[in-house]
């Protein structure tokens, strides 16, 4: 072969089947960036059925316009999977998933600055006997680190196309696409000798897998090696349990080795690293010794015992400052336009139920979702930014010790913190947590962090609790901070409780790579943000729209006599009756049926409580000016003439809002992320139950003390 393999080849024939590539690589090696660069916006994002792992499939086009399907598999360090995400990668590559055909070819991407560890996965993948293309990403950073990588030599040693690439800057993509569209791809020439002590076991188990488990011979060898690498054979087998005969052979070898004192797994891993070390010695040369890298210098501050906290605090302050200030203008804009649209329709259509359904039900409902979109977009943007720059891992590193007190690890920190803005992005960010139990615990407690939809309720209740214009601002801020603190404490308490009882498991590990700091790929961050926001609009939006229409119906029917005020209409509607129906339940915590209507309407979104109270008590109010509503609330009475909104009731109502699960969108997202109704129902019950019990204690305790 005179020319490098990937240049001399011809493009795939027009009549050949469209090839399917799987894209695999370690985390942090630029896999998503390459996927985005290859497929552009031609991506389909979904879920693998049965597990909550994102399935991304895209189409790349060869230089000749031939479509090439690319499946972006979750990042992993090894085929010996530890998390549901990694198990998907392993199962797709081994052709075990019924919903995803085994890819014809594999695109392996590695971080050129860190070739040795990255090649471990490549080494396992070469065992699969499929054509592989190796992509050396971040070549620029490797050069900057003083490394010289001889790409042609690596290509010669492995016998597969090796493409140098800088995915972030779109460099090397043409060469890569040329290689991908080749009709024939060579199989790896790289011969790896399995250590003599283990080789007979590998062939015996592989033979049993072919006979007993009907595996294809090529996959069988890889599976046998995997079974011997991970000692937990049940975990390796995953959804396809081993035949009794294979299990028997495996057990026999394991007990023999145990007696002999052979560490078979260790031997296998070591021999792979020996082979990789020999490769690396021929391919990588440290040309120039460079001093501490930029990352080392940044980390000297960013993870410093004192400055680390300052940086973390500053980053989080900036995050929340952006969410609450930058989002304000677009939120007002959306609010204004939704209201204007509603008014236009109101004046264009003749009065009637259809008009009200469109304006109050549908438009009001969609508006209720859209108004949160700016905050959610900013939050997703920041999460994406923190991930792509590498700071996310540092935040987890710093917070791990604190999180370990309640049995979680540092990776739960960002999802919980994000939930102060909105639980939905927080819950969606839990996908970075590997351990399924830790992930579930984080999902269960995240909505206890006071989200921004609770803020209007707190503000209204504080205004009613401490009326008067000259109340020290400290009192108001103090009550507010108390509520935020209470929610946080509740989240940590329940995390601790669940980790000890319901979701008991091994203490979480904190084996995590701290990737070098990198400039963010804004295109990738933006794409990630839009993807997430779209999921929010689709999942939460449809639910809220439905709930809004139902709530509208409940408050519009049955009809009050002609000419009744909105307040009278609401009072005798289904919603009003529902308020009456739940009154016996909420009376012990100091709420009457009118507050009950507010609690029910909060299921659309908690801040709806404020506007519902406006209708119930017939007071015009807006988020900026709660004064008329406050006055109306303070004059509200029980039938026997006692004041309804006593300071104690206001306080109790806030406590209730801290803990109760009243957000349908969150319930919908939890259902999606936990793959069923079991956990969202449990979550609703435990949160609302806690809210009721604590409210009862506060209200009755307060009354006993004479408040």
């Amino acid at each position: 072969m005179a020319l490098p393999a990937h240049i001399s080849a011809t493009a795939a024939g027009a009549n050949s089947r469209q090839p399917v590539y799987a894209l695999v690589g370690n985390p942090n090696c630029g896999k998503s960036t390459l996927f985005n660069a290859l497929t552009g916006l031609k991506q389909k994002v979904g879920n693998y059925p049965g597990v909550t792992v994102e399935k991304k499939v895209g189409t790349a086009y060869s230089q000749h316009g031939q479509p090439i399907t690319v499946i972006d598999l979750p990042g992993t360090y090894s085929l010996a999977a530890r998390s549901p995400d990694e198990a998907v990668t392993r199962d797709v590559l081994l052709g075990r998933r019924a919903d995803t055909a085994q890819p014809d070819r594999i695109l392996c991407i590695v971080d050129a600055t860190n070739l040795e560890r990255n090649l471990y996965l490549v080494h396992q993948i070469l065992d699969l006997g499929r054509p592989v293309i190796l992509v050396l990403n971040m070549m620029d950073l490797a050069t900057r680190a003083g490394l010289e990588i001889r790409v042609d030599q690596l290509e010669k040693l492995l016998g597969i196309p090796v493409i140098a690439c800088e995915a972030l800057y779109q460099r090397g993509l043409i060469e890569l696409k040329l290689a991908m569209s080749r009709a024939d791809l060579p199989l790896a020439r790289h011969a790896w000798t399995v250590p003599a002590a283990i080789a007979p076991a590998v062939s015996e188990i592989a033979a049993a897998l072919v006979e007993g488990d009907r595996k294809s011979p090529l996959v069988a060898r890889a599976e046998a090696l995997l079974l011997l690498t991970d000692q937990d054979s049940v975990r390796v087998a995953g959804s396809t349990p081993l035949s009794p005969r294979t299990t028997e052979i495996l057990r026999a070898w394991q007990s023999r080795w145990t007696q002999e004192g052979t560490d078979w797994a260790g031997t296998l891993v070591s021999s792979r690293y020996d082979a990789i070390g020999a490769l690396a010695a021929e391919v990588v040369q440290l040309r120039t010794e460079v001093g501490p890298s930029a990352s080392d210098k940044i980390d000297a501050i960013a993870t410093h015992a004192l400055w680390g906290w300052v940086v973390l605090g500053a980053v989080m302050t900036l995050l929340f400052f952006s969410i609450f200030t930058l989002a304000e203008t677009p939120m007002n804009w959306i609010d204004g336009h939704v209201a204007a649209l509603s008014d236009t329709i109101k004046s264009a259509m003749s009065p009637g139920d259809l008009r009200d359904l469109i304006t109050d039900g549908a438009i009001g409902g969609v508006g209720g979702v859209l108004v949160f979109l700016p905050q959610i977009l900013i939050l997703f943007f920041f999460i994406g930014l923190l991930e792509s720059t590498g700071y996310m891992a540092r935040a987890a590193f710093i917070m791990d010790r604190l999180m370990s007190r309640v049995g979680l690890n540092g990776k739960s920190f960002i999802p919980m913190l994000s939930s102060y803005a909105c639980a939905i992005p927080g819950i969606m960010a839990t996908r970075t947590i590997e351990d399924p139990k830790d992930r579930l615990v984080t999902i269960l407690v995240a909505p206890l962090m006071s989200c921004s939809a609770r803020l209007p309720v707190y503000l209204l209740m504080i205004a009613a609790l401490v009326p008067g214009e000259r109340v020290p601002v400290f009192t108001k801020v103090g009550i507010m901070l108390f509520m935020y603190g209470l929610g946080t404490a509740g989240a940590f308490f329940f995390a601790w409780l669940f980790k000890r009882t319901l979701l008991k498991g091994e203490p979480p590990l904190m084996i995590m790579e701290l990737p070098p700091y990198r400039l963010p790929g804004f295109k990738d961050v933006a794409l990630h943000m839009l993807e997430r926001a779209w999921i929010f609009v689709r999942r939460a939006g449809t639910v809220i729209l439905g709930i809004s229409i139902i709530l509208w119906f409940l408050s519009a029917y049955p009809k009050a006599p002609e000419g009744a005020t909105p307040t009278a209409q609401l009072a005798q509607s289904f919603a009003g009756r529902a308020g009456h129906a739940i009154e016996p339940l909420i009376k012990p915590i100091g709420f009457d049926w009118q507050i009950g209507i507010g609690l029910i309407s909060s299921f659309a979104a908690r801040e709806v409580f404020v506007s519902t109270m406006g209708v119930v008590f017939n007071a015009e109010s807006s988020a900026e000016n709660t004064a008329p509503l406050r006055t109306a609330l303070l004059s509200a009475k029980w039938p026997d003439g006692r004041a309804l909104f006593t300071p104690l009731v206001c306080f109790t109502l806030m406590i209730f809002y801290v803990f109760a699960m009243q957000c349908m969108s969150t319930i919908a997202v939890v259902k999606r992320e936990t793959n069923g109704w079991k956990w969202p129902i449990f979550q609703t019950l435990y949160m609302t139950g806690t809210a009721w019990i604590l409210s009862f204690m506060v209200y009755q305790g307060g009354r006993a003390l004479g408040f």
Binding site: Y77, S78, A80, R82, T113, N114, E116, R117, Y120, T229, D230, Q231, D232, D263, A265, G266, V269, S270, Y273, S295, D299, T303, H304, A305, L306, G308, W309, A393, F397, I398, D400, R401, L402, S404, G410, E506, P507, L509, M510, I511, M512, E513, L514, P515, P516
Partner: protein, 81 residues
């Protein structure tokens, strides 16, 4: 070379380098650490500990890795001169 000169990774002072000598054979954590390149004979450097003392950050095979002290306690290393 006497085993007595080995210390656990969690006892290694910040900034010091060492060669990994011994490692528990079982356990998910240790399997993953092995697969990430921590093997007998691998040299590593303790870069720093987190602000609250745990976890620790090591440099191994040219990249940075964190692990908790509860795992580091079981990893025996020989400090380099």
């Amino acid at each position: 070379m006497a085993t007595a000169s080995f210390i656990s990774l969690s006892q290694l002072p910040v900034g010091a380098s060492a060669i990994l000598r011994d490692f528990p054979k079982a356990g998910t954590a240790f399997l993953r650490l092995r697969e990430m390149g921590l093997l007998a004979g691998t040299s590593l450097t303790l870069v720093r500990t987190a602000p609250m003392g745990d976890p620790i950050e090591i440099k191994v095979r040219g990249y940075h890795l964190t692990l908790r002290k509860s795992e580091a306690d079981h990893i025996m290393v020989e400090p380099s001169a």
